[in-house]
């Protein structure tokens, strides 16, 4: 586990600065900042309602920002969803949200919407099929007929289809059996290693997320309250108490 942040010279590929989001009078994010460096896996952990999904949706332009800025490779990230995807950030959303009445193949094709070169799309689809052979077996099946784990694979594969520079994952473990979660997380490590994919993941399953990631941030009621190398956070008694079930005292 190398820490790209300590490499120093390189600027972060994705930089979120003082991001705030309001839902009416409720301030869901109150100036959260984080950096993601090329090739890293960064996790954001936090309880239900801490603002994790809000942060993802705000980066994607799916909900409006109230303040702050988001930079991709040093340039401001556009505000509208379709421009964000075109710029190189894709999301596998919370709850998977695959297109149930479309086939697996069509789901992947729609993921490649910003690409126009037919052969490039086919190439990328083959890459996704290599990562998830199960999707290739079920390519002609309707996405709605897949199991939860397969749907999560499809959601991740679909996000990869646009050839993102940064892959965002919102609660990939949600509603899945522990054995399936392990499989998904193994796959994520592989995507990071073999494709060199930069990943920002938000997770309630803090232990899994910390084991997977290089660095992590703790989000608490709209504020980043702690950050550090994932290994350190894993052994931090405060984190253990609050997010890892606090085994011993």
């Amino acid at each position: 586990m190398q820490n790209a942040a300590s490499a120093g010279a390189e600027a972060p590929i994705l930089s979120v600065r003082n991001l705030s989001v309001n839902y009416g009078a409720i301030r869901a994010l109150k100036g959260a900042s984080l950096d993601v460096y090329r090739g890293e896996i960064v996790a954001v952990i936090g309880a239900n309602g801490a603002g994790k999904s809000t942060m993802m949706n705000a980066i994607m332009g799916d909900i409006a920002r109230a303040g702050g800025e988001i930079l991709l490779g040093g340039a401001p990230l556009p505000a509208r969803s379709y421009q964000v995807v075109g710029a190189g950030v894709s999301l596998a959303p919370e709850g998977r949200r695959v297109f149930a009445p479309l086939t697996v193949r069509e789901n992947l094709e729609i993921g490649a919407f910003p690409l126009s070169d037919r052969s490039e799309i086919e190439e990328q689809m083959q890459r996704v099929f290599n990562l998830f052979p199960r999707l290739e077996e079920r390519r002609s099946q309707y996405a709605g007929t897949l199991s939860g784990g397969e749907q999560q694979m499809l959601a991740i594969g679909r996000a990869l289809m646009a050839k993102p520079k940064v892959l965002l994952l919102d609660e990939p473990s949600l509603g899945l059996a522990p054995i399936i979660i392990s499989e998904i997380f193994k796959e994520l490590a592989l995507i990071n290693r073999t494709l060199g994919m930069t990943i920002l993941i938000v997770e309630q399953n803090a232990r899994k997320a910390l084991l997977l990631s290089n660095r992590a941030y703790v989000l608490q009621t709209g504020n980043i309250t702690m950050e550090g190398a994932s290994g350190d956070l894993l052994n931090n008694p405060e984190i253990e108490e609050a997010y890892l079930g606090g085994r011993k005292k």
Partner: protein, 303 residues
């Protein structure tokens, strides 16, 4: 027997014109989850554009006496004109609403308003009188298999509707934007997360719906006459879309054919005064037996 076959052909012809209109209702419903009651307005716009192009009124400033265009040019202009007006109506009336609230009921109400606006623009500017389209669509009787007679007009309407419905199906199933529309009809926001420009997609859907309505407008104004309230006839197409299941395109087509057949069979075997009664009886029975419609998926609240 003769009457039966004849009325079946007439019913299919009428139903196919309903289908063009009903599909427009369903397309818009599937993406934005409201019934666009300004749809009749698009139909009327298509009818008038065709009428004025055929009469050469647009060119009369440039040519002595005016030169009427042929039906192909007039129809193309009608399709584009109605398509663009549908896009404009969406931008003017629905976009400001959908950007502020997820409650689709407000768009439904706005669409009723836009229908009145379009109707009255015609009443105020060119008057409410009935106009007959120049006889550009052949109406001669044709004998079918020697046992029944129908008109060239009915066969032409049927053929045109089939061509456009098949074309729409090919567009939806084979093209990139067609795939995007199918994805968006399942979940618009998620489609946006895939990099689809949602506003452009909605404009495209309205353009297509407006175009299809214009074809309906041309055939209906040739069959009956053209007047600003002709759009009211889309009520029947709307009923057909509801019977088939709002938001489902196969449902819209099936519902339209059922309705067209029911109307024509009622006319042939009972009395033409029973046509509308049959239509609404069918609607009520469907809503009682299968509230989501024949091909409908959700039984949630529909507006």
């Amino acid at each position: 027997m003769e009457t039966l076959l004849q009325q079946i052909i007439n019913g299919l012809s009428l139903g196919s014109v309903y289908a063009l209109i009903a599909v427009g209702y369903s397309l818009v419903y599937s993406i934005l989850l409201f019934s666009n009651f300004a749809h009749g307005g698009f139909l009327v716009i298509g009818g008038y554009v065709c009428y004025f192009f055929l009469g050469g009124y647009f060119l009369s400033n440039f040519f002595e006496g005016g030169v009427g265009t042929n039906i192909w040019v007039a129809a193309a202009a009608a399709l584009v004109g109605a398509g663009l007006s549908a896009v404009i109506v969406e931008k003017l009336a629905y976009k400001p609403i959908r950007e502020r609230t997820p409650v689709t009921l407000y768009m439904l109400i706005a669409s009723m308003g836009m229908n009145i606006v379009i109707e009255n623009i015609f009443v105020v500017t060119i008057g409410g009188r009935y106009r007959a389209l120049p006889s550009v669509i052949p109406m001669k009787p044709v004998s079918v298999l020697g046992v029944a007679t129908t008109s060239q007009f009915d066969l032409l309407a049927l053929a045109t509707a089939v061509v456009f419905l098949v074309g729409l199906q090919i567009f939806l199933s084979r093209t990139k934007w067609g795939l995007a529309i199918r994805a968006a009809s399942y979940n618009l926001r998620t489609a946006g997360l895939m990099g689809v420009n949602v506003n452009r997609l909605i404009s495209l859907v309205f353009f297509v719906a407006g175009m299809l309505a214009a074809i309906g407008g041309i055939f209906l104004s040739a069959r009956y006459t053209l007047y600003p309230q002709l759009g009211a006839i889309t009520t029947k197409a709307f009923v057909a879309a509801v019977i088939g299941g709002l938001g489902s395109l196969p449902g819209a087509v099936a519902g339209s054919l059922i309705l067209g057949l029911a109307e024509m069979l009622a006319t042939g075997f009972v009395s033409s005064q029973f046509r509308d009664l049959i239509v609404f009886v069918l609607l009520i029975v469907t809503l009682i037996v299968r509230p989501a419609g024949l091909f409908g998926k959700s039984v949630g609240e529909k507006v």
